[in-house]
């Protein structure tokens, strides 16, 4: 078990700069999820922690050790790959024992550790099988087993669930979380699925284009996203955005570029922000049906999707699509006109995307 310090790490392949100065402090025993769109450099960063990719500049420390020049074998980390990378010519037991044999651990101890890992992961009956005779979910477990027999300082996961079907993915999600609670080993987990990030992480690191956009606990990112990118990336369905300006003259509210007027109650922040190009952000569950026509803005209902527990309504306001999520059961139909009003909203800078204010009504 150990902390991991990533200090101003950069990485270039040939001339292309892939990581442009990334700093993350991961505490001992923490479960950190790196999340971001495809190609943002998550795997590259993880592989640099594992020692599979050289570090162009910056420092990576595991515990108190600077590991920049360590080979993978000297770093004492375990990694689960997206394609599992099981050794096809070895049995499940052989796959798990490989690293222990390399460390010269004696036979009895190896058997004991393999048996224990197999029990934790429910692989006991499969120990003599070859990987090609296993299902996708079983292979995934073997890959996990290969990591946990070792008791490494840090676990690294690169999208370990992306090859599984939806149901299995949800099940494995809680199993991995459970495993973390049991082992209490530092884990760094890469995914591009923000739901995985939200449900599993102690802390999430949102990356884009080789940079860290924001680091924080899941609900912190959800409630106070640092900028438009994080606001749009975290949360599903995604936050609704309207470009426009604040007006405080004869009426108070947000005037979208499309012409939609969102009435807002007076607030001191509005005065400072009036006239600047802004983006109004409203999460789908923060929209409710207004009490009267004057209290909200008009939308036309396009799609209604009830799931029983909630109803998702896709609506359009002057050509801009919005999604609203209602816990209560409204009888809305396609083609209806509704008046919506936010219960909570964010304002972002129209130029650099930084969050300027979050207001509850």
């Amino acid at each position: 078990m150990a902390s991991v310090d990533i200090v101003n790490v950069k990485k270039s392949f040939d001339r292309a700069e892939i990581l442009r100065g990334v700093s993350i402090h991961i505490q001992d025993g923490e479960f950190v999820v790196l999340v971001g769109p495809s190609g943002c450099g998550k795997s590259t960063l993880l592989r640099m922690i594992a020692g599979l990719e050289t570090i162009s500049s910056g420092e990576i420390k595991i515990g108190d050790q600077l590991v920049n020049d360590f080979t993978p074998r000297d770093r004492d980390v375990a990694m689960v790959f997206q394609n599992y990378a099981l050794y096809p010519h070895m049995t499940v037991a052989g796959n798990m024992a490989f690293s222990l044999k390399l460390r010269g651990i004696d036979r009895a101890e190896i058997d004991r550790r393999v048996a224990r890992a197999a029990e934790i992961l429910g692989l006991t009956a499969l120990l003599d099988r070859r990987p090609r005779h296993l299902s996708g979910g079983q292979r995934q477990r073997v890959a996990m087993g290969r990591a946990i027999v070792r008791d490494p300082r840090v676990f690294l996961f690169d999208e370990p669930l992306s090859n599984l079907d939806a149901k299995l993915r949800v099940a494995m999600r809680s199993e991995i979380k459970d495993l973390h609670q049991r082992l209490k080993t530092t884990m760094v987990y890469v995914t591009h699925d923000q739901i995985e990030a939200m449900t599993m992480a102690d802390r999430i690191v949102v990356m884009r284009d080789g940079r860290v956009e924001q680091t924080g606990e899941p609900l912190e990112l959800y409630d106070t996203p640092a900028n438009l990118f994080v606001a749009g990336f975290i949360g599903s369905p995604a936050m609704n955005f309207l470009k426009g300006t604040i007006e405080v003259a004869d009426r108070t509210g947000f005037v979208a570029d499309t012409g939609t007027f969102v009435p807002l109650p007076p607030s001191p922040t509005h005065g400072e922000l009036a006239g600047r190009p802004l983006v109004l952000g409203i999460r789908p569950e923060h929209l409710r049906i207004a009490d009267g026509a004057a209290g909200g803005f008009e939308v036309g209902v396009k799609i209604v999707e009830p799931t029983g527990s909630e109803t998702q309504v896709t609506a359009t306001a002057n050509g801009a699509d919005l999604i609203a999520l209602f816990r209560e059961r409204h009888t809305v139909r396609q083609g209806d006109q509704l008046h919506l009003t936010p219960t909570h909203f964010h304002l972002f800078d129209g130029q650099n995307g930084a969050r300027l204010a979050s207001v509850s009504i």
């Binding site: 020692g51 074998r73 375990a78 394609n83 990378a85 096809p88 010519h89 490989f98 390399l102």
Partner: protein, 272 residues
Amino acid sequence: MNKNNRLQNALFYVVVVFISLVVLFPFLWMLSSSFKTQTDIIAWPPKLIFSPTLQNYAKVFGEQDFLKYFINSTVVGGLAVGLSLVIGLPAAYAISRFTQRRLALFILLARLMPGISFLMPWYIIASRLDLMDTYVALVLSHMLIALPIVVWIMSAYFNSIPVELEESAMVDGATRQYAFWAIILPMSGPGIITAVTLSFIFSWNNFMFSQVLSMEKTKTLPIAVYNFVSYAEVDWGGVMAAAVAIMAPAIILTMIFQKFVVKGLTMGAVKG
């Protein structure tokens, strides 16, 4: 299956048989001649029906010291292929993993260049170093045939193995060398069988290097066929029987490993 289909099928087989006959004709002629007497062979029109004789084979294995040539060919081919594996497998791995395309092309060039362009240098080197008619010279020259085949087939094969396998082994605590030895090599069976089969056959069939570098002591099979060609006359029956005896191992090898060879050669072309 309807009538149309059946007709198409029949046509297909007619074409296949025709092409096979054309391709196999020299071989069949050789095979039948090896069982004929000298008079039957040169008879005109060619005799389709004749009383077969084993006298040619008796000559090949009896009068001529065929076993010695057979052993020579096996030793030279075996050593050349074995040493080519020792050098070629790590080389192919390095070419595959560190994408040394230029190096790979350079090695292929050695294979594409006409063998005859290597003859003079080999001859001079061997005679200056007093290596004429030794296994050393012959094996080294045959490695020029075997090594490019091993490197080419194996680098394509390694390309088809996901890098994550070694990476995983390295994170598990292996050095790259050990990962190659313990993970990559054990799963390269089909590729290695292909490379060995093809390079051994090419070495087995090689005439040019052996002709120049070997004399009585290290003479290989293809050269031995010439023992039946004398100044006065050509013993066609003996030549044919010897040729059949030489081709047999190559054909048997190919038939046994055909499945692997086809798989190994198309590896990397098709995913999965």
